[in-house]
Every structure is written in C-alpha cells, then in structure tokens.
Amino acid sequence: MHPLADLDHAATTRLRPQVAEAMAPFGSVRYGNPSGSHRLARDAVRAVDDARERLAQVIGCEPGDVVFTSGGTEADNQAVTGGMPPRPGVPVCSAVEHHAVLDVVEALDGRTVAVDASGRVDLEALASLLDELGDRVSIVSVMLANNEVGTINDLSAVAAVIAAHEPEVPRVPLHTDAVQAAAWLDLRTTTEDAQMISLSAHKLGGPKGIGALVVRRPTTVRPLILGGGQERERRSGTLNVAGIVGFAAAMELADAEREATTLRVAALRDRLAAGLVSAVPGLVLTVGGGHPGVPSSGATATLPGACHVCVDGADSEALLFLLESDGVMASAGSSCASGAQEASHVLTAMGVPPHTARGALRLSLGRDSTSADVDLALRVVPSAVERVRAFS
C-alpha cells in the first residue's frame, strides 16, 4: 500500500470519532422531531437547544442569534440576499469571496471591492465604493479567511470603514463568510464586529450538510426557505438534530485544541512551504511569495493550514494527476460543477498573471496532518513538476 497524504483539508475534513459518537443516538434512539410537543420531541429540542448554547459560547454570540442551515452556502445566500424577497439596495463584497457569496452579489447586480496582492480587501477601495453608492448599500460581505489562499482579513478594520460611512444610524450589516476560518481562528475576537457570520461543520471535523448563519441582534434576516417556521421564522425545515449535535461537538473540540493545533500545523505548513520553495525552481508562495510584476505583500496573516503555491510553467491539472498517482491529494483551488479545473477568480483578483495562475496548487493542511504527509509532498511535488515541465 502506497502512503497517502490528504493535503486538501480546505475542501473537507474527516468526521472526528468523538463527533460521530455524539451524533450516534440521534436518528436511532433519540430520533424525535424537535417541532413536536411529546416526550420524543422534547428530548430533541433539548439536544438542539443545548447544542445552540454551546455553539454560541464558541462563536461569542447569543444562542438566539444562531440560525441552523444546510451549510455555508445556504448561510451565505441568506446573508447576502437578506432572505426572500431580497433586501433592497446594492450588496457589496470583496472580489475574492467564495462563489456562494460572489454569485449572489452578482445575481443581485451588486458590486465587488478590489483586494491587494495578498488577497486582503482594499479598505480604501471599499470606502470609496461605499461613498459612491451612498445609502443604496444593502450589505457588505468580506470573508474572514480566503478558502484558496488562506489570507485573513481584519474585520474590525472593515467594520470601521462601514461605520465611517454611516456615522449616525448604523444600518448596513457586515457579513463574514467564516467557513474556512472557523477551524483555526477564535471567532469571539475575530468576528465580534460582524453582524452576520456563515459557518459550516464539515470544515472542522463535523458532518456535512449542517452549518449556521449567525445573525446578531438587532440585525434581522427574512427566511430563504419557507415552511414550518422553524428557527424563529428564519429557516424552515425539520432541524437536522444529529448534524446540529455533531456541529456543536466539533466546534467545541476545535476551540479547546485551537492553540495546540495551530502551533503544530503552522510548523508543518512552514516546513512544507519552505521545502517546496527551495526544492522547486520557479515555485512561489502565492501569498507573500512575490510574483514577477506583482509587489510582494510582506508578512500577511494566513490560516495555519494554508499552503498555496504557483508553479511557473506547470499546468495544475497535470500536476494534480501526477501528485495523486504518487499518493498526494491536493487541489488547484476551485473546481466547476463538472470537476474540471477553472481559472481562479481569487488569483485573478490578486493580480497573479494568468500563466502563473495556470500552475496554481493548493496544499491545505488540517488537524489530522502529519509530518509524514509533508515528507511525502516534499518528495513527490518536485518530481511531478519536473515531469510536467519536461513534457510541456
């Protein structure tokens, strides 16, 4: 058996055994629908309420602010639209948002804000766009950390720009897609200035199909999905009790282990990044690595697990195929519905030249990553690059 290294933790993570264990009774023994009134229902309500409170603790919000959704995408859609019918006005987001935000903003004829060479939102550009739009701005959405390159935004600074735009009556909410960041950053401090936060369980050891939109009072949202009026009329549909329980368990574990995990994974990431740069000529770190013609961003804060590189003269698709043959599972950043690799809007917005972006490689580490994973990547990436270049 060949060694395998999952270096695609930004895509998803393994369900943690403790989480699976916490979820196990719900659906088999404790299978009640929380929207009822009898004993089984009350048992389920209690589990959901309990999970909601524990999540609120980790997020740093009120339990009533947590609206459970099917995942990050739904949360992003509800936040940006404001529900159904959409909030009037022009939504604004950064140019490097996940498509779950970006495509909604585009569908609503919204506007995007430029980012710098490291992928951070350009605060001056945001300020001037808000000035231009005046009181027509409906929402500002800026991700806490980027899912491709891992760059972290300072949301307090973003909130300050919005506050300066409307010093008297604050009205425009700041939404942040924290789906990628939640596994790593303390939301209590990093998202305290955001009125809405999107989260997803499966990025941090929880199950797929469950997430949340946090809506801090006095900000409100209408439902995107109508029906039985669950979640205080903000999201209908029978609650995914097992998922909610698993989500809370995963968030609590991640929170408790945050410091240790961050230190350990960041060290692995640093060794991987440094090793790749020294072993592969023409390979640059996408954030802070300095592309030809693009000013270096200096020391930019990135997620501990993020190692995004661009390999000059190598096509991502071919590279990924060869890496997989050698046991390394990675990604190029974004895939379309068919599974084909597409040019990344994130790299384009960062000003990475197209021929460099063609060789994009996202190696993302997670809590489960080991030193052996890094060793394997350092062994196989250089030879894969060499082969792709030799045949190009």
Binding site: E317, A318, F321, L322, S325, C336, A337, S338, G339, A340, Q341, E342, R387, V388, A390, F391, S392
Partner: protein
C-alpha cells in the same frame, strides 16, 4: 498498457473503455471539458460529464476531467468563426481531433505516463506491410469516421487505439446493454457540439462577428433574391434561399463573401473535374497515382488520380466530374493497402493516405 480513454459520455467511448479492460489494459477515463457554453447536440455538457463519470464507475475505471476550454477556443472555435467570415467551410470536428484529442490530450497522456490514448471513433488503426500504421475505415461503414481522423499520421497512430472500429454500432449498443451501462441507449451525438440545434449557426456567429446581407444572382448575373447573412451560405445549398423567378432546381454554385454575392445555378454548374488541396497531411510519404477520394464526413468516395505540384499543392483529378468542393472543406485520400492483422493474418484495407483542405 496504461491507456487513457477519452470518455465523452456517449455509448461508443463507454464501450471503448470496457473493451480495453477486457484486453487487459490498465484504463483511466478522462472527459475533456472543451466548451463552457450552451449545447444541446449531445456533447460537452455537465450531464455528459456525469454520464461519463457514471459509466466509468460502472466499469470501475478512475475518471478525471481535463479542462481544455482555452485550447478549444483557440484551435476550434476561433478558426470556425474566421473560416465562416472568409467564406470558407470550417472543419471543427477535424480540427478538434487534430488539435485537441490527438495533440493536446495525446501530449498530456504522455506527460502523465500513459502509453496510449483511446477514443470511441468508428475507425480502425491498421498495420500495413512495412509495419507502420494507418487509419482504416470502421467496420460499420454507415458510421465510419476515418474521414475526421485523417490528420493522424503514422507517428501519432503508434499511441492511438480505436477499439470499437472493429464493431458495428448495433454490436456496440448490445455490448453496452450487456454491461448495463447507462449510456447504452443514449442517442448518437450529432452536428457540431458548440452549435445548439435550436438556435443554430446564425445565432452562434452573430455573437462573435458581424454577418453581412448579400445578393443572390443567377449565373447570368440577374438578381433573384437576397440573403440575410452571406457568411452562412454553403456551396451546394438548395433550401432556404426563397428565389424569385426561374424554374428548375437551383443550387448555390458560388459564394463570394467579399462582394456579398451568392450565385445560384442548375446542378451541372456545380460539377468539377478536379480539386486543388493545400495544408496537406500525409500518413507517411506523399502519395501519387490512383486514390479514392472522400470530400465530406458522410459522403461517398470516388475514384481519382492525385498529382503533386511543385508548390506543395495537390491536384485531385476525378474520373467522373464531382460536385464542387467548397473552399476550406477537408478532402481525404484513401488507397487499398496490404495490411497485417494482430495475429499476422494478411488482408487488404482501404486506408487513409493523406488529406488536405480544398483551395
């Protein structure tokens, strides 16, 4: 061998992968995503990728998707538009084979460590007496696709497998049904994959270029009608012209885009004794003498004599006058050659010896 099988999501390529497995090859499937736009002609859509993926899963074959959209745009779409604007007949399927499947994909396959690329074309790779390879006609003569594969020279054919070329379409479908492949009853793909049946060429070209109205005249110069887009008229076309006056069947016998003039005339005006070719591709060495000539994807072959000019052009002289070949159209030359079967059995096959574009 390690074989990369190009899976379009259709029945032919699905069975190709199955046959290769049976032959003991190590097979990986790949779907080329070539076209991001609308398509209803049975190619390249997300649902085709899904069909390919499901067929691969049924065969327990790994499946990948390669995005060659940029290359397709550059080598197939752009020339297609340019040819129309210049009044030439484009060959998108020939160009896709030449540039995408048997160039970009073949090189990618080599890069990834594969020994060969296989496709579900109805044509055969045959070995001739000197040991080199040629494209032979598919066993299903009604489905034969050797014409669109003529740019493959003996060199590329060293690394190309066309396993279903030995089978009729009915047998392919039976085989797919026996394997319970979900593609077994999928209709054949037709037409050009990036042109939708509902909107057609006109809508596609209008998005990318300016089309020009033109005059229709008969052979003595009398105007007999108009067309909304001279770029869309094809030599030999008869329908959709709404001609005034005159009697008898009239066909487009000439199109001059520069002066926006379409000339119509009786069918005998379409007949030519010869056609000149450029941009020639030869399977190995240039060929002189007796050949069989095929001038369209599903046209019948006719007998001719081929002659090489000093300037590299090739003159094909038909034994019997043939309908005029539009400029830019692919013309493929075949000869009967002695072949050697995989088990050493000698045979005679009609194989592609070369081809080029009508001047």
């Amino acid at each position: 061998m390690r074989v990369l099988a190009a899976l379009s999501g259709g029945v032919d390529s699905s069975v190709t992968a199955a046959l290769l497995q049976d032959q003991g090859h190590q097979v990986v499937g790949v779907t080329m995503k070539l076209w991001g736009g609308e398509s209803d002609s049975g190619c390249c859509s997300v649902s085709d990728v899904e069909d390919a993926r499901r067929a691969a899963a049924q065969l327990d074959v790994d499946h990948h998707v390669f995005n060659f959209g940029e290359e397709f745009e550059e080598h197939v779409i752009a020339p297609y538009v340019a040819d129309h604007l210049a009044g030439r007949t484009p060959n998108p399927c020939v160009e896709c084979n030449r540039r995408l499947k048997f160039d970009v994909l073949l090189r990618r396959a080599e890069m990834l460590g594969f020994d060969a690329v296989a496709t579900g074309h109805h044509a055969r790779v045959v070995t001739v007496a000197d040991g080199t390879r040629r494209i032979g006609r598919g066993a299903d003569t009604a489905k034969d696709q050797s014409y669109v594969l003529y740019p493959l020279t003996a060199i590329e054919l060293e690394r190309v497998l066309l396993p279903i070329g030995e089978m009729t379409k009915d047998v392919v479908r039976e085989r797919a049904a026996a394997l319970h492949l979900r593609t077994a009853t999928k209709p054949d793909s037709q037409d050009v994959c990036f042109i939708t049946r509902t909107d057609g060429r006109a809508a596609f070209l209008e998005q990318r270029a300016e089309l020009h109205p033109g005059r229709i005249v008969d052979t003595d110069g009398t105007q007999v009608g108009t067309v909304s887009a001279v770029e869309l008229v094809t030599i030999g076309q008869r329908r959709g012209l709404n001609l005034a006056g005159g009697s008898g069947r009239r066909f487009v016998v000439d199109v001059d885009v520069a002066s926006a003039t379409v000339t119509v005339g009786p069918p005998q005006h379409l007949l030519r004794d010869e056609v000149a070719l450029d941009t020639m591709v030869w399977a190995t060495e240039p060929v002189r003498g007796r050949v069989r000539v095929q001038c369209s994807a599903h046209g019948a072959a006719s007998d001719a004599l081929v002659d090489l000019q000093q300037d590299g052009r090739v003159i094909v002289r038909f034994d019997e006058p043939q309908r005029r070949v539009a400029a830019g159209q692919s013309v493929v030359l075949y000869q009967q050659m002695e072949t050697v079967g995989p088990d050493g059995t000698p045979g005679i096959d009609e194989v592609v010896v070369g081809g080029g574009l009508a001047v």
